[in-house]
């Protein structure tokens, strides 16, 4: 891999060399490196682009890296990755996509990830999206994440998009059985004329299922963000969605909450706040010696941390 590709990998997966544990690196629409372990098997799909990842039951504390990098302008890469997590396994999965586009054609990656967690399984799923390059061609990322949680399982998803993605439509869906828990934390920053749309849809079907969805976003310049969430409680369950956005310049942020309780025992909460950086926060940091620009940077950095 050349320096550009290595930098993309560093940005999205924080890796400089072959990572520990199982991994599958995809570049410009093709798998280029793969490693499996005793507990984690990765198999290429035969009917379409993508991989199946199988984690054996009771596997503990293994890392699985599945980064995607695109440096070819004009490429439209669609990939279907499925993860089958065995009973009581506990693993960390690090995905993400980085696009470098120096030309005028659009580059696009649509990653459709499905997670099937068996009883008692635990997964931390980290997904970073990043774009760079001097070309006029857009960098487009449309991730879809579908989560099916069996009894007592848990998935925590951390999704970050900080820089360089011109357009994204991000869809996350969850279906939860009893005592399962889905935690989603999303952080997005958009600049220029970028567009980001996020859709969350969670169905709480099992007794004592719970979900916490947190979205923190910053929209500056003329960028536009849209946040849609729908939580449906079909039994005794708990759901909490929190959407916080900082808006600057001529940006636009739309938050559309929807909570549906189909059972008297369903406890669902939605909170949404959109606003500019509070003047008192800037003033406080300026009394510590930061100028206005530095103060603003620190507030945004903290907000998206």
């Amino acid at each position: 891999m050349d320096n550009i590709e290595l930098e993309l990998l560093k940005q999205i997966a924080d890796i400089n060399e072959a990572p520990n544990g199982a991994y599958n690196i995809r570049k410009n629409g093709q798998g280029i490196e793969r490693k499996v372990t005793q507990n984690v098997n990765i198999v290429t799909k035969e009917d379409k682009q993508g991989i199946d990842v199988f984690v054996k039951e009771n596997t503990k504390y293994e890392f699985i890296h599945i980064p995607v990098i695109i440096t070819e302008s004009g490429l439209n890469d669609v990939v279907y990755n499925d993860f089958y997590i065995g009973k009581n396994a506990d693993v960390v999965i690090i995905a993400g996509c980085g696009i470098h586009n120096d030309h005028h054609k659009d580059s696009q990656h649509d990653g459709i990830h499905r997670f099937f967690l068996s009883e008692g399984a635990k997964v931390k799923y980290i997904e970073k999206h990043y774009g760079e390059g001097k070309g006029t061609g857009k960098r487009i990322l449309n991730p879809v994440t579908e989560v099916t949680l069996k009894k007592g399982s848990y998935l925590k998803m951390e999704s970050v998009q900080i820089k360089g993605v011109d357009s994204t439509i991000r869809v996350t869906k969850g279906v939860l059985e009893e005592d399962s828990n889905l935690v989603v934390s999303e952080k997005i920053m958009t600049h220029g004329n970028q567009f980001a749309k996020t859709e969350f849809e969670v169905e709480l079907n099992g007794e004592n299922a719970s979900t916490h969805v947190t979205s923190r976003s910053v929209a500056v310049d003329k960028s536009v963000q849209e946040f849609k969430s729908k939580i449906t409680g079909n039994t005794k369950c708990f759901g909490h969605v929190e959407c916080d956005a900082i808006i600057k310049d001529k940006a636009k942020v739309i938050a559309i909450p929807e909570i549906v309780a189909n059972n008297v025992e369903a406890n669902l909460i939605h909170e949404a706040a959109i606003g500019k950086i509070a003047g008192e926060q800037l003033t406080k940091l300026m009394t510590l010696g930061l100028n206005e620009k530095e103060a603003e940077e620190q507030i945004i950095k903290g907000f998206l941390k």
């Binding site: 923190r216 509070a278 008192e280 926060q281 009394t287 010696g289 206005e292 103060a295 903290g302 941390k305």
Partner: protein, 206 residues
């Protein structure tokens, strides 16, 4: 009571503009300087209502205040000095999950850390319970020993006035009395409607 105490404090820090007059620090007119420039010139300011932040931790805020990298042990030492059990607080966000008393002590820690030539506390007793207030007095007594600059505390509380070296009495925006605590303490306690600035230690920087 509105006698202009907080307004005066904010004018000194540059948070509010003066209608007329000058702010002189070390013999230099700093009236045209921005808040951050005044901070760098040696003025510290503790807000009456501490500011909350989403995502910024106590440790982050202490590092920003110190204007240099400080390690966790140093951060914990600073928090201990304001009566907080440091390891419980250093990684917490400076947000609404903290009580008024906790936020106030963190606010004091961020300001005291700067060891400024002039440190202003705007009604530090506001919004805290009696237990936190007792600790606050101890914090100021300790600061008086270690801080080299002048500490200016805006307060209505007799116990804070009692630890002052000098007291300035403001009435309707004008200085009515100013002098050593012993000289004017008796008089000012009779004036229920006035506001007070307690000045602790330091050279004559203000």
């Amino acid at each position: 009571m509105a006698h202009g105490k907080s307004t005066l404090a904010k004018i000194i820090m540059g948070i509010q503009n003066e209608d007329k007059g000058q702010v002189i620090l070390d013999g230099k007119d700093i009236s045209k300087k921005s808040i951050d420039k005044r901070a760098k010139s040696g003025i510290g300011f503790a807000f009456q209502q501490p500011v909350k932040f989403k995502g910024i931790t106590v440790y982050d805020l202490l590092k920003l205040s110190a204007e240099k990298e400080i390690n966790r042990k140093e951060a914990c030492d600073i928090l201990s000095k304001v009566g907080l059990c440091a390891k419980d607080y250093v990684d917490r966000e400076v947000n609404g999950s903290l009580s008024g008393g906790e936020l106030k002590r963190i606010e004091i820690a961020t300001v005291a850390l700067r060891n400024a030539k002039l440190t202003i506390f705007d009604e530090p007793e506001a919004g805290i319970d009696i237990w936190s207030f007792n600790n606050l007095i101890k914090v100021f007594e300790n600061m008086r020993k270690v801080v080299k600059g002048t500490i200016l505390i805006i307060s209505h509380q007799e116990r804070i006035l009692n630890i002052a070296d000098e007291i300035i009495l403001l009435n309707n925006g004008k200085i009515e009395k100013m002098g050593k605590k012993e000289e004017i303490m008796g008089d000012i306690l009779k004036q229920e409607t006035a506001g007070f600035c307690a000045k602790l230690g330091g050279e004559n920087n203000g």
